[in-house]
Amino acid sequence: MSRRRKNLLTVLGCTLLGAGAQVLFKLAGTALGPSPSPMAMIVCPPLIAGYILYGISTILLSFALRNDELSSMYPIISLTYVWVMFLSVWYFRESLNFYKVLGVAVIMGGVAVLGSPGNSDPAKDGSSPS
């Protein structure tokens, strides 16, 4: 597998881990209530699990993006919005409607424009190109 393909799959995996973390955060929020004590938060299992997923995702992402052009990964990273929307509706029974779908689609469009190659930005990648 080429390095680029490997990075692409890593980033895709990160979006799934990131979405999973959001579900755990929401579960933690429901369990903790609106004004939890710091102690209750520290020992809350879904919150801890959420942070572990979030941490793994962030570390993997920073390794994958280090050697790859960040810009081409933006549209993939924004897939997290799709997974979270799907999980919110399926798992938490939140309403799905036209505005939510359109809103997320427009945001993803914006993220894609931000990251598209025309946005030549020599200072963007601190590391040397691979």
């Binding site: 903790l32 920073s62 939140e94 914006g110 993220v111 931000l114 025309g118 963007k124 601190g126």
Partner: protein
């Protein structure tokens, strides 16, 4: 119940703090090698990680409010691109471009459209 203004405000605060986390990660990524030691001895990354944790506490607080919808609040994290564009210029000298403004405009429009999709408040 629906997603409250307090929740929206907390997410904006979370995205603001998180964008500083990204600035530190960016600064730290320059010194990152493919070994674990470089990961744990990099104080820029540590500060960046800490800021992400603080940011996420605000996010958890936001989704803990009664009636808070993950499907509305999570996409609003994209607000961090707005701050990121400003900090990229301030700290790394990256220019504002028409393309960046277009992308940001779409993101803000998307966030506004999402608000129309919030469930209707029943009290």
């Amino acid at each position: 119940m629906s997603t409250s203004l307090l929740s929206l405000f907390l997410v904006v605060v979370a995205s603001f703090i998180g964008s500083f986390g990204a600035v530190f990660l960016k600064a730290g990524s320059k010194n990152l090698k493919s070994n674990l030691k470089s990961l744990f001895t990099n104080y820029h990354l540590a500060i960046g990680g800490l800021l992400f944790v603080i940011s996420s506490l605000f996010f958890v607080k936001a989704i803990s409010q009664p009636g808070a919808e993950l499907s509305v609040l999570y996409p609003m994290v994209s607000m961090s691109y707005l701050w990121a564009m400003v900090w990229s210029r301030v700290f790394f000298g990256e220019p504002f471009t028409r393309q960046k403004f277009t992308g940001l405009g779409l993101i803000i429009l998307g966030i506004a459209i999402l608000q129309l999709g919030k469930s209707i408040r029943l009290e």
